[in-house]
């Protein structure tokens, strides 16, 4: 039982009532008793004094009868005192004794003081007794309360008094009081015990309900509440059950609602943010940081600056404009795509959406919530699609104009070829005839042509024409192909054939030998065959090898210009079977100079080239990309960084239709 509980309060009240009643009874009894005792004691001692007065009166009467008062007065007084000593003073009560003083306050007879003692004359007792004919008073003597009653015997001028300690006077009253307290005490105790049992019985359901409510408040809702009865407590218990059930139901619904919301969020794989626009405080979920390959802990301290620092500087102004448009009410939603830095040195595309959910009373945005969704993959696919569309349109254009370009090219190149033949072929009879007719010899003409570089110039015309024709042919590769030309091939064989081909073909500047490049082969054993168009795949391999070889060659040319040691060029060719994906993965890695991100991103764009004008068509890698992705439903990408070489990665489905 606790202080403050109903049971305690009830019991305190009852106990209080009992104690007050008991005390009142005791007080009333005491007053009454004191009065009774006072009356009886007064009567008793008045009678005793009267008896002593009677003895003295009779002795005085006898003295008067003798007629010789003067002569016998002393004898008679002595005789009266003798009688008194033998009666009242014979064995007097130790503390209750009568005494007689004469008119001068001298002791006539006293228990302890000798006759003629004057010590009482000056005391309070003496003074009071001599002041009036009779009466009673209380006084303190030697620290004890006493009561004194007295009466004067005027004939002899004596005062007869009785003195009683109050302790003795009220001894009976005290005794009675003790007994009464004892009885009342017991009654109170017994009554309290009985009542506490009864009260406890009444308050037991309340106590139980209190306990249950405490448990419920602590969150333990599944409490047994079985309190029957039709009284108030029963009703209370039943409403309690209803309240508990309703709370339980609401908690359940809330929990389910929260879970549903969390599931939806998880399903969308979205990062979330909740922003106090006025203070700059922000709450992110873990996914928000995860999109950037980080944890929230890594990004601390977290506030709106965390976001600002993690948006691409080129995109941030756009994002802020969007926010302002939403804040000013010009747009219902904030919805924007921007880049964020990824831990692995790259950018991820994020779609941020949000809305102000709370405004300040003066119409400023207070709280804004929203999501971040990683759309990098979508962007990449989009870009690839755009790339493919671009290539297809190039292909369509090429198909339309190839004939129109090839004919003039034919006229130009074929004419150049015939010209070269006519100007330098000394064996040709027609040439010899014409030379003779002109009065010269074919040898002289040929010598002139060589000396003046005419044959080289014609060669240049042919070479330029050939390049133009190659561009047209490459552009024509950007067209969708049917399966007709597909057959299964061993990629290891195709790759090796291409390396041999590159060895004989590579003569771009006639001073670099492809065969000096170290070739490291890491082919997985038992590679499955791949359905492909072998010529096209070889074209792709050749383009990659040529690209790498040229890059490595250029690097070495630069090194030799700086008189630095040359690098040993190396290709690593890897072939692996990705069983799960039913793909073969081809990796061609060179140890060349690598490329920066800007080049890497554009490398598959048609007509993108880093080579000087006239040296590259800018189509080789884009044609390769197109052949792999469009014609073979594969994947092609490049990994490279300055100083780290370049890896081309191609993944080809074993069967195009399965991709």
């Amino acid at each position: 039982m606790r202080f403050g509980s109903i049971t305690f309060k009830l019991l305190s009240l009852i106990a209080g009532a009992f104690i007050i009643t008991t005390l009142s009874v005791l007080l009333a009894a005491d007053i009454q008793l004191t009065q009774i005792i006072d009356k009886s004691q007064n009567a008793m001692y008045a009678e005793r004094i009267a008896t002593i007065l009677g003895i003295l009166t009779r002795s005085n009467e006898r003295l008067q009868k003798t007629g010789l008062v003067e002569a016998y007065v002393a004898d008679f007084k002595e005789s009266a005192l003798r009688v008194l000593r033998q009666t009242y003073y014979k064995r007097p009560h130790q503390s209750i004794y009568p005494f007689i003083l004469d008119a001068d306050g001298k002791v006539v007879i006293h228990q302890t003081l000798p006759t003629g003692d004057l010590s009482l004359r000056q005391t309070e007792i003496g003074q009071k007794m001599l002041a009036s004919p009779e009466g009673d008073f209380e006084y303190i003597y030697l620290g004890q309360q006493h009561w004194c009653m007295f009466k004067q015997f005027t004939e002899w001028g004596w005062v007869i008094g009785y003195t009683v300690p109050l302790k003795i006077k009220y001894a009976d009253a005290r005794m009675f009081r003790t007994v009464l307290v004892f009885i009342m005490g017991w009654i109170t105790t017994l009554a309290l015990l009985t009542l506490s049992l009864i009260v406890a019985r009444f308050t037991k359901p309340i106590t139980r309900l209190t306990h249950i409510s405490t448990q419920i408040a602590a969150g333990k809702l599944d409490q047994q509440i079985e309190l029957g009865g039709s009284d108030e407590v029963g009703t209370l218990a039943r409403s309690f059950v209803r309240m508990r059930d309703s709370i339980q139901q609401q908690i359940l619904e809330l929990t389910m609602e929260r879970k549903r919301a969390a599931n939806i969020l998880e399903g969308t794989n979205a990062g979330t943010w909740d922003w106090n626009v006025q203070t700059g405080e922000v709450t992110f979920n873990e996914r928000w940081a995860e999109i950037m390959g980080r944890t929230l802990e890594e990004l601390e301290p977290i506030d709106i600056q965390t976001w600002m620092k993690n948006v691409h500087p080129d995109d941030l102004p756009r994002a802020q404009t969007q926010l302002e448009l939403h804040f000013s009410g010009k747009q219902d939603y904030y919805d924007i795509e921007f880049r964020q830095p990824h831990k692995d040195d790259d950018w991820v595309w994020v779609n941020a959406r949000g809305k102000v959910v709370e405004w300040t009373p003066d119409g400023k945005p207070l709280r804004m919530s929203g999501t971040h969704v990683d759309i990098t993959e979508r962007k990449r696919t989009q870009e690839m699609l755009i790339q493919s569309e671009k290539m297809l349109s190039v292909g369509g254009l090429a198909a339309g104009m190839a004939h129109e370009i090839n004919n003039p090219l034919g006229g130009m190149m074929q004419t150049a070829s015939v010209m070269s033949d006519r100007l330098s072929n000394v064996e040709l009879p027609a040439n010899q005839r014409a030379a003779e007719e002109a009065g010269t010899s074919m040898a002289a003409i040929a010598a002139f042509m060589n000396a003046r570089g005419i044959i080289r110039m014609l060669g240049r015309i042919s070479e330029s024409g050939r390049r133009a024709a190659e561009i047209v042919r490459n552009m024509l590769s950007f067209a969708r192909k049917s399966d007709a030309t597909f057959s299964t091939h061993n990629l290891a064989e195709l790759l090796d054939q291409t390396v041999d081909l590159a060895g004989s073909d590579y003569d771009l500047k006639k001073k670099f030998d492809f065969r000096q490049i170290e070739i490291v082969r890491e082919y997985e054993e038992n590679l499955p065959e791949v359905s492909c168009e072998s010529g096209k795949i070889q074209q792709v391999f050749l383009n990659i090898l040529r690209n790498g070889a040229e890059a490595m060659q250029e690097e070495n040319e630069e090194l030799s210009m700086k008189n630095e040691a040359l690098k040993k060029s190396r290709f690593v060719l890897r072939l692996t079977h990705e069983q799960e994906a039913e793909r073969v993965r081809i990796e061609v890695a060179d140890n060349g100079p690598g490329m920066n991100a800007a080049t890497r991103k554009r490398i598959f764009e048609p007509f993108f080239t880093t080579k000087p004008v006239g040296q590259g068509t800018g189509l080789g890698l884009s044609v390769s990309y197109f052949i792999i992705t469009e014609n073979h439903s594969g994947e092609m990408r490049v990994e490279s960084a300055p100083g780290k070489g370049t890896i081309f990665i191609i993944r080809l489905p074993l069967n195009r239709s399965q991709a």
Binding site: A399, A402, H403, E404, I405, N406, N407, P408, L409, G410, G411, M412, M413, Q414, T415, S417, V418, D421, R422, L428, P429, A430, N431, S462, G465, R466, A469, V472, R473, L476
Partner: protein
Amino acid sequence: MNAHTSSVLILDDDDAVRESFMDYFEDRGWLVTAAATAGEGLEALAHGTPDCAVIDIRLPDMDGNEFIREAGRRNIRFACVLCTGSPEYQPPTDIAALPQVSGQVFAKPVTNLSELENTLRRQIETYRTKEEHPHA
């Protein structure tokens, strides 16, 4: 050079191309006739059947395939090599099946004229053999 002088019909509407072929083959001792349209070509055939022809596909009046068919209808047959500026061109099956038509189609620009010449000579030989021994 050659004991027997062979004749060739150059059928191409592009002047520069046609002339370059003519110049080349004349230098090599061929008897060259040239035509810029199929109509001109058929007219030329009326004056005499060449040993062979270099036939462009796209022509202003009828295409090269039709020219070969038309010549066939007129019972004029000679070795043919097709030469076109259309990179995607594949001869239709009836043309490809003809014994006088070479399986090798040349794409313009023809960078190696001597290869074309060699092919023409081979085709003349092949067709002549087939004609003499049709069931060989």
